[in-house]
Amino acid sequence: MSRKPSLPAPRRIAALDIGTHKTVVLVGQIVDRRVRLLGFGERRTEGVVKGVVEDLERLTECVHHVVHDAERSAGVSLSEIYAGVNGPQVDGGRVKGMVPVPGRDRRVTAADMVEAEASARRIEPPPGRLTLLYMAQPTLLDGASVANPVGMTGERLEVSFWRVTHEEASLRQRVGMINGMSLKLRDFLLGSHCASCAVAAEGDKRTGCLVVDCGAGTTSWILHYRDHILCAGCIPVGGEHVTNDLCSALRVRRDVAEDLKLRYASALHRPEDANQTILKEGPSGPEHQFNRGTINRVASVRVTELLELVRQDVEARVRQIFGRDVALTPAFLPAGILLTGGASQLADLPAAASEVFGLPARAALPVTEAPELRKPEYAAVVGIMAAALVNEVPARRAPRGFWAQLRALLRL
């Protein structure tokens, strides 16, 4: 007798992304293992500079407004929320647990895996930091990477994680802020991991890719290698630095510099840009006159520096994991670099990234059913929803048994 698979009951999930530039809250409902968007709230963030909270009261007020907007938009009252974290307070490091495989036949059991994982998790994070989550890395059996070692024979089992930690004080602040809004914090999710959930396809993750989430105040990245998350990091430099540089170099107001960046700036400086003059209209006729070459030179210098910082950070982390220098080549990361986030809309950024990393790079948009959210600046919050969905509704198991596999085969 065939049984109809039971579907999980519809549940509401909410995602909060506090960025340097804007704060977004999404409200969705889980229907048949998918998220149906119910509501949306967005405001310019106040009280955060380069990913660091400087004025908690203003930030609380701002986030509260966004939550209120999202609730009104969705027509529901929220009680729980997932929050993304990013910024310089977030750090990561590799933790490794190793156990010798006991027994005469040296066959790895589930208990060996449990013990190896427990030994890895016993390693304490640095003082003043709290663990947010663990990201699984390839399991090694006698030095060879295996997907699932249970049942295999070997002598030494190594299990490692990329452990993400956060400064305790600021984490307490965030939990208190969210609890003060009558919301329970369901969990913290890593912003860069969420962005990769939103923009990277399973094939990209399987082959290996670097997802770079270019925000206004910070740039976070995460490295997928052979279907695992190898490492993640964050650079306290973002799109606002380009705006600041343009302000200083061109001696214009911030809003003018932002407009110039969005409309004319490029991440690549080409000699022919020097021949172009941009007339910036003011309220009473032409107000400023700019050379596009100057704009692009300023932007490209900052962007190149940013990308160099990312590359150095990635290489340092990879070196820490492998114990040697590993070149970021297309062989290492066949899927290349995926650029997302609000600052990734800068023209020619993929080309600049490709030049700096020596890898293919492309701009990536979040995959979502809501067309208004298919913009790079919403990659993190859409990803929070996707990661929260995985957290709430585990993936279906592969069919087991002859008939189930046959049915799956015929369905293909």
């Binding site: 509260h64 009558s182 890593l190």
Partner: protein
């Protein structure tokens, strides 16, 4: 969320593990103290919105309940709406008997459950009624019936049974089976004012009290009673000298090997004292005694004191019956 041990047993390793991790896990070290009411102006607005939503929902629910209540409870049913009846009774009335009571032609176009209850209780056979309209539109009627202690028998009565309740109220015995009616004693020689009708009278009340007491205490005696005559009961005025209750026995109840007892005469005033005397009298032995030569006898349980007309002296005696 799959527990970590289950994930491991299934050979699953999550890409990002949100399960409780180590001793420095934030979930362990940062307790969440969620405010019931959000803080600040915005919090109050959010809370108010939440309350308003709740209040609106509650109001709508209340409105729906009220509409339903009035629709099912007191609102008159339309002329075309004749709901199904579910009748529960402790007597003999059937839904077919109740329907004319519930929906009389004179009730007009509408009928509510309170009026329905009154209409049912107006019938003498019904002691009390409880009427509810159910969610499916049908009517649930629960009846407590007035049970008969005797049947009324008059030549001028309209067709159908006339029964007498234990409280002296006459009623039409709808639904009574023929055998049950035949087993009841008949009250005959009714006072003129109750002849042919169903009006209550002192005579009927006296007969009802007498028969219900006899049934309750001496059912074996009553089973042999064919009729109770109120001819000499003076319409229940028991103080009148010579007022009697005359009980005729069923001929079939008398053995053939002794003289028959055809009638028992009770005093209308002292019948309550006479009933136990009759039960203890041993009439059968007395009738078989030598010297009982008449074919039929009347048992008189008292003798009228002619010198003191208001008093009755208990003196049971068998006298030969004479045909009237």
């Amino acid at each position: 969320m799959i527990p970590p041990f289950l994930r491991r047993l299934l050979g699953l390793r999550a890409e990002a593990d949100h399960a409780r991790a180590d001793d420095r896990d934030w979930r362990k070290l940062i307790p969440q103290d969620v405010n019931t009411v959000p803080r600040g102006t915005m919090g109050r607005r959010r809370a108010a919105r939440s309350w308003v939503q709740g209040a609106v929902v509650l109001s709508l629910l209340g409105l729906m309940a009220a509409v339903l209540w009035f629709a099912l409870g007191d609102a008159p049913a339309g002329p075309a709406a004749k709901p199904a009846l579910r009748v529960r009774t402790d007597g003999f009335l059937s839904p077919a008997d109740v329907a004319p009571l519930a929906f009389p032609p004179s009730a007009g176009s509408g009928l509510d459950v309170a009026a329905l209850r009154q209409a049912l209780e107006a019938d003498p056979q019904v002691l009390a009624a409880r009427v509810r309209r159910l969610a499916d539109g049908s009517l649930d009627i629960e009846l407590r019936e007035r049970l008969a202690v005797a049947r009324l028998e008059t030549p001028a009565a309209p067709p159908g049974w006339r029964m007498l309740g234990a409280d002296g109220v006459p009623f039409a015995g709808r639904g009574y089976p023929v055998q049950a009616v035949r087993n009841l004693p008949a009250v005959v020689d009714l006072p003129e004012e109750s002849e042919g009708g169903l009006r209550r009278s002192a005579g009927l009340e006296l007969a009802a009290a007498f028969l219900s007491a006899a049934r309750a205490s001496y059912p074996a005696l009553v089973a042999d009673w064919q009729s109770l005559s109120l001819r000499d009961a003076f319409d229940g005025r028991a103080d009148i000298p010579g007022a009697t209750l005359r009980v005729t026995l069923r001929p079939a109840s008398q053995p053939a090997d002794r003289p028959a007892l055809v009638e028992v005469v009770f005093s209308a005033k002292e019948w309550a004292r006479e009933l136990p005397v009759l039960a203890a009298l041993g009439v059968d032995e007395r009738l078989r005694a030598p010297g009982m030569t008449s074919p039929a006898y009347v048992l008189k349980l008292h003798i009228r004191n002619r010198s003191q007309p208001g008093t009755v002296t208990m003196e049971p005696r068998l006298v030969p019956a004479v045909s009237r």
